[in-house]
């Protein structure tokens, strides 16, 4: 008798747990949509891409609390791939089995380039928050949100040539971060040469440096007029410190440009005059609704959201928009990769509440946002515009058309 009683209790408990889990629902609730992001939350690139994971997590949790997408609840999963290609491959193999899921990939480690062909074969569109050029051209199923790093170098060449007043060729040094995307501006060296900008030095900065004096001295010896860098925060703080220590005053432009973090980790005299590219609105443009949303989402983590956080909020909004477009077209049951891809193609002139100047996708161009502007850090920690928004040339496409190998 006691055994039978316990058996009944056990069955009831299991049944209750099963029903409470939501697997067995009597009410007609809308099913959730899952957003999965694969990024480097830990590892050598975490300072730059960690905030992108936070932004994705915060935005979709906020979106879920505020009605989800077309009434469907939203779930978010951020997977840490630790800058490790085998882990990226196995994480993707696991994620692609899931139904009703949208995928985003961080591009810092270059894993996205290795898997680009897989995305097209599996018909899974992947949102790429950072800009890794080989993933975006030839055009496939990777959707960018900002110009890739090599396009930024090409923009730099255009900007230098436009403002150059001397009779000789301008001299540019490349000081690139030693990670896949960081090295990709090498693909635009031909563009610089074509525009008449002489690339006089090309140094790679390790991911977690302790001293970069030797690299800076070699750059200085080449006598550049400008330095273009793709350094991440852990690299920038060392480089700017060493640059100040060595008395090097060559104007330097950074693409990653985590400007607020720089003001917190580098002395003002070292970061004064440091320029950087913005592909979206940043922390100092507080009148923009998208930036205000980023501040609101970030408030449990800190005072001021980093640039990559704001970019990721904008990217997440575009990501959600693509899924929303897909839901409107095919409905929840037919929500698959092809539908989400078509959803991306419907995004035209989207600003993500002012975060981007303009974000558009087409079958011929999946870079998303093609606009950049240069800003400069002042000694008081504020930023000022150096240029207005400039359209970035598409380096890889131009290179292919020019027949350059």
């Amino acid at each position: 008798m006691r055994l039978k009683t316990w058996n009944c209790v056990l069955v009831l408990v299991v049944l209750a747990a099963f029903m409470a889990s939501g697997t067995f629902c009597f009410a007609a609730e809308k099913q959730p949509i899952k957003f999965v992001m694969l990024t480097d939350l830990t590892g050598p690139a975490h300072a730059q891409v960690g905030p992108e994971g936070w932004a994705t997590e915060d935005f979709f949790k906020w979106l879920d609390k505020n009605g989800g997408i077309a009434g469907h609840p939203v779930e978010v999963e951020v997977i840490d791939t630790k800058y490790n290609l085998p882990l990226i491959r196995s994480a993707y193999a696991r994620v692609k089995r899931m139904k009703h899921v949208a995928v985003s990939f961080d591009a810092i480690s270059g894993g996205i380039e290795a898997l680009r062909v897989e995305f097209a074969k599996d018909k899974i569109p992947v949102m790429m928050l950072t800009g890794h050029a080989p993933a975006l051209y030839p055009v496939s199923w990777v959707m960018g949100t900002m110009p890739p790093y090599d396009d930024v170098l090409a923009t730099t060449a255009d900007w230098i040539v436009k403002n150059w007043k001397e009779n000789r060729k301008p001299r540019l040094a490349l000081f690139l971060g030693n990670y896949a995307s960081g090295r990709s501006p090498q693909l635009a060296k031909w563009y610089c040469e074509k525009k008449g900008v002489e690339v006089v030095a090309d140094e790679l900065c390790p991911l977690l440096p302790t001293d970069t004096s030797d690299l800076l001295i070699r750059i200085q010896d080449a006598k550049p007029d400008f330095i273009f860098d793709t350094l991440m925060p852990d690299q920038v703080k060392v480089v700017l410190r060493d640059k100040y220590k060595l008395g090097i005053k060559t104007p330097q432009l950074n693409f990653v440009f985590n400007s607020y973090l720089i003001t917190k980790t580098v002395p003002p005299e070292a970061y004064e005059g440091y320029m950087g590219y913005q592909s979206c609105s940043h922390w100092w443009e507080k009148d923009i609704p998208g930036v205000q949303l980023a501040y609101k989402l970030y408030k449990n983590r800190g005072e001021v959201p980093p640039g990559s956080y704001i970019l990721a909020v904008g990217g997440a909004m575009a990501w959600a928009k693509a899924v929303e477009n897909a839901l409107k077209t095919v409905g929840y049951e037919n929500l698959d990769g092809q539908a989400i891809y078509n959803g991306y193609m419907q995004i035209q002139n989207y600003t993500a509440e002012g975060i981007f100047k303009e974000l558009s996708y087409s079958k011929q161009d999946v870079r998303g946002c093609k606009w950049l502007k240069i800003t400069k850090l002042n000694k008081d920690g504020n930023l000022s515009n150096v240029t207005d928004w400039m359209e970035a040339p598409w380096n890889l496409k131009l290179k292919t058309e020019a027949g350059v190998k």
């Binding site: 939350l41 830990t42 975490h46 960690g50 994971g53 936070w54 997590e57 949790k61 999963e77 951020v78 997977i79 840490d80 791939t81 630790k82 800058y83 490790n84 290609l85 085998p86 882990l87 491959r89 196995s90 994480a91 193999a93 696991r94 692609k96 089995r97 480690s109 270059g110 380039e113 290795a114 062909v117 080989p134 690139l176 030693n178 990670y179 896949a180 090295r183 990709s184 090498q186 693909l187 790679l204 190998k405």
Partner: protein, 351 residues
């Protein structure tokens, strides 16, 4: 190795057999059949995991020959993998050589490069040799990245053409599973055979006491360099397979951290044992996969923590597990496995 009760060896051939009893032979055969049939019921995620693990095991077998059996510490093994990977990729892309040629060429190329960097082993050992192999890691990756970017892709990725064997193009996980599995079994067989030969005995003698080995007539110069060649050959083969499998290789695939992790896997698995690479590779890779899955699960269970802290917590547990393994199993999992087998045979200790 302890024999099961009642099993006696009456000839040298019986004494030297690896699988002595019928049960052992059937067990190994059954295991291989299971591996061959696995794609029929395993899904793609497990195929990806096993493919990556198997390539790592090949590299670890090479490192085991070098460091485990011959005692020559190498913390540049990943760079030798890069030599194999880039070598075979360039031969395939630039000269259109078939895979069955580029694979051994990649291995031999890596072996020859390993010979060059093995020269310091004739004069230095231990930590000093480890530093010399770290230098190999940096030098090789610098050569790949910088002087010949048009050939190697430079710091950007190099795309590898699809491979085909006997007119059959390998283009999915199952195809590569059989290729990589076959190579892993072959290389493991070679390792076992090598270690049972006079060369293997010479390696072990050098590891245990190189001065005594030399006094016994073992040519240190020859055998140390041979160990480097063979170890790096294995790394080159692993690199070639990896290049063919991923179809895109870049310097980020062969970093110093990868070399250190390979040494770590071997230590955890058990130096000086053919099974050590299997255990060590499987443990570390499985822990990594568990971290991938556990982080989001913890984040779902306790949303207040957030994804990054969940990921960091999982990393801490990963490190703690490694430390515990090293504290309680300093001789590696392979040694523990041998103890387990012996205990099983002796139980219930009726003697």
């Amino acid at each position: 190795m302890r024999r099961p009760s009642g099993v006696f060896d009456v000839s040298y051939i019986q004494d030297m057999t690896v699988f002595r009893t019928r049960a052992q032979k059937i067990g190994m055969l059954g295991f291989i059949v299971l591996l061959l049939l696995f794609p029929l019921f395993g899904d793609e995620y497990w195929l990806v995991f096993i493919n990556s693990l198997a390539v790592t095991i090949i590299a670890l077998q090479g490192l085991n020959i070098l460091a485990g059996y011959c005692g020559q510490i190498s913390i540049g093994h990943s760079a030798f993998m890069a030599v194999g990977a880039y070598g075979s990729a360039i031969l395939a892309a630039q000269f259109n050589l078939p895979f069955w040629l580029t694979l051994p060429c990649g291995g031999i190329g890596a072996g020859l490069v390993g010979l060059v960097f093995g020269l310091p082993s004739l004069r230095i050992k231990g930590f000093y040799l480890a530093l010399a192999t770290i230098a190999a890691q940096f030098i090789i990756m610098y050569i790949i990245r910088t002087p010949f970017p048009d050939i190697t892709g430079g710091p950007i990725a190099l795309h590898v053409p699809p491979i085909s064997l006997a007119g059959f193009t390998l283009d999915n996980e199952i195809h590569f599973y059989y290729l990589i599995l076959g190579m892993t079994l072959l290389m493991t067989f070679f390792t076992k055979s090598l270690m049972r030969s006079h060369i293997g005995r010479a390696f072990v003698a050098i590891r245990d006491n190189d001065i005594a080995a030399e006094a016994m007539g073992i040519n240190l110069y020859r055998y140390k360099l041979l160990a480097f060649f063979i170890g790096c050959f294995y790394a080159g083969v692993a690199g070639s397979l990896w290049a063919a499998y991923t179809k895109v290789i870049s310097p980020d695939d062969f970093t110093l951290m990868n070399s250190i992790w390979q040494m770590g896997m071997l230590i955890v698995g058990g130096l000086g044992s053919t099974l050590g690479p299997f255990f060590g590779g499987l443990l570390i890779k499985a822990l990594n996969e568990i971290c991938l899955i556990a982080g989001p699960m913890i984040d779902n269970l306790i949303p207040q923590i957030g994804a990054q802290i969940s990921a960091a917590l999982v990393e801490m547990v990963f490190g703690a597990v490694l430390v515990l393994f090293l504290v309680y199993l300093p001789r590696g999992l392979a040694h523990r496995w041998e103890i387990l087998k012996d205990s099983y045979r002796l139980w219930p200790f009726s003697y």
